[in-house]
């Protein structure tokens, strides 16, 4: 009898253990800003670090967009680096020469057709006065926990 109770408890324990691991994995996607930035910094070489931005991303039932405006100097060469390893669901990163409201804007770079497992992106830009970085979050399950991505810029 005791043995039966023990076996049942063991099974229950296993179930709880499994549930616990599920909960543990459903927690925040690991957003270790320093580790992400260290990786991005390596991609930035040989450019000199200028600035970086850690952006927290949430998923919503509808698609949404976040735009970062980056001022540049026309005679300078820049490298823009992105690391999306801490995002549970991939987003599209696009870079334009003008903001989202401009009819004259041109697409300079996009991750739209990148391989699904690619998480590090770099784009070199020169002879530009501004860059507009769009993070396009896909429509999705708003109960999925968000994550973060790092954008880093360097100049030569």
């Amino acid at each position: 009898m005791d043995k039966m109770i023990f076996t049942k408890l063991l099974k229950l324990t296993t179930v709880f253990a499994l549930l616990f691991s599920v909960f543990a994995f459903q927690g925040d996607a690991p957003c270790d800003a320093k580790a992400l930035k260290d990786k991005a910094k390596k991609q930035l070489e040989p450019y000199t670090y200028d600035m970086s931005k850690l952006t927290h991303i949430t998923y919503k039932p509808q698609a949404w967009l976040k735009e970062i405006e980056v001022p540049l100097f026309i005679g300078e060469k820049y490298r823009l680096v992105f690391n999306t390893e801490a995002l549970p669901k991939q987003i599209v990163i696009s870079i334009y020469n003008r903001d989202k409201d401009s009819k004259k804007r041109k697409l300079l770079f996009t991750t739209k057709d990148a391989a699904a497992d690619k998480r590090e992106f770099a784009f070199d830009i020169a002879m530009a006065r501004k860059a507009f970085i769009d993070y396009e979050m896909p429509a999705g399950d708003s109960t999925i926990d968000g994550g973060c991505l790092v954008f880093m810029m360097g100049y030569k």
Binding site: D2, K3, I5, F6, L9, L10, L12, T13, F16, A17, L19, F20, F23, A24, G27, D28, A33, K34, K37, K41, T48, Y49, D50, M51, S52, K53, L54, T55, H56, T58, K60, Q62, A63, W64, L65, K66, E67, I68, E69, V70, P71, F73, I74, G75, E76, R98, D99, K100, D101, S102, K104, R129, K130, G146, M153, Y155
Partner: protein, 304 residues
């Protein structure tokens, strides 16, 4: 055997209880995570915008470069070193005794001066400005950036090597960005950069008075593209401190002067998005008014 089973039973109950407790902790932890996430969302909600409603939302986030890059660009344009243009070091005591905005603006001006000295190989001055920046950084929680990774010794050792010092400064910049982001205090970097930018503009315009270098003028005007981003970033953060509002008013006043330049108005009438500084013709009177405004703002900042 019974005793053993009993022990196992107890042990299993303990494990069960343990997992229950862990689950509870996980749930509670989730709750805390929610609060943190809400905070984070609050930080970015202004910048969020469903694709369908692009007209009304304030959707941009604004990136700002490092003081070192500003100084590098002005140096490339031929900005020479003149003694007496930088913010006197003894003002640091006033900043240390002041509020957070005064300290941060003071640090910003000194970072700009440090970059100016380094790029012009003013070794002793660079040492002095680095030491003062390091001390001021402690008062706003950025000591880690200036003191970790053996930074003071590396600065001392490499002071005569411009490339190495620039590299160390970029590490300091990155570490400062990390610390401020971690502490959800990114607005401090906006304030510091505003101080640094005004100081760079002050040095640039003062050197122009002495040398009339056309390249420097073009670059000063080009910097107004950065001013627009500073204004937008200050606007987003103006509720953080009343002094940020004052700073915003100053920056808006400077931007108004620039926008009233005849050639700026003409170019903006055809394409408001992009101004090519090479196409601008700035009159002496226009530049003089601009220089005076920069000087007025800078002198107010350095008073602390």
């Amino acid at each position: 055997m019974k005793i053993n089973l009993g022990m196992k039973k107890i042990s299993s109950y303990s494990v069960l209880f343990g997992f229950g407790a862990l689950l509870l902790i996980t749930s509670c932890g989730g709750g805390t995570g929610e609060v943190e996430k809400k905070d984070e969302i609050k930080d970015t909600v202004v910048a969020e915008m469903p694709k369908a409603s692009s007209e009304s939302d304030e959707a941009n986030l604004y990136a700002l470069p490092s003081p070192m890059q500003i100084a590098t660009i002005l140096k490339k344009a031929g900005l020479k070193y003149y003694t007496g243009l930088t913010n006197p070091l003894d003002n640091a005591d006033k900043y240390k005794a002041g509020n957070l905005v005064a300290k941060t603006l003071g640090l910003g001006t000194y970072l700009s001066d440090l970059s100016y000295c380094i790029l012009n190989r003013q070794n002793q001055e660079s040492k002095n400005y680095f030491k003062t920046c390091s001390q001021l950084s402690e008062s706003i929680g950025l000591a880690k950036a200036f003191q970790d990774n053996n930074v003071p010794k590396r600065m001392e050792k490499n002071m005569t090597n411009g490339d190495s010092v620039s590299k160390i400064l970029s590490e300091i910049q990155m570490e400062s960005d990390n610390v401020l982001e971690e502490n959800k205090q990114s607005y401090i970097s906006v304030i510091a950069f505003t101080g640094a930018w005004i100081e760079s503009m002050y040095i640039g315009t003062q050197v122009h008075i002495k040398e009339k270098n056309a390249n420097v003028t073009t670059n000063i005007v080009e910097q107004m593209g950065i001013a627009e981003n500073i204004i937008k970033a200050l606007e987003v953060n103006k509720s953080k401190d009343a002094d940020v509002t004052v700073l915003l008013q100053d920056m808006n006043a400077l931007n108004d002067i620039y926008n009233n330049f005849k050639s700026v108005k003409e170019i903006k009438a055809t394409d408001p998005d992009v101004i090519d500084p090479a196409k601008l013709t700035i009159s002496v009177a226009e530049l003089d008014g601009f220089t005076k405004k920069v000087e007025e703002i800078r002198n107010r900042i350095i008073k602390g």
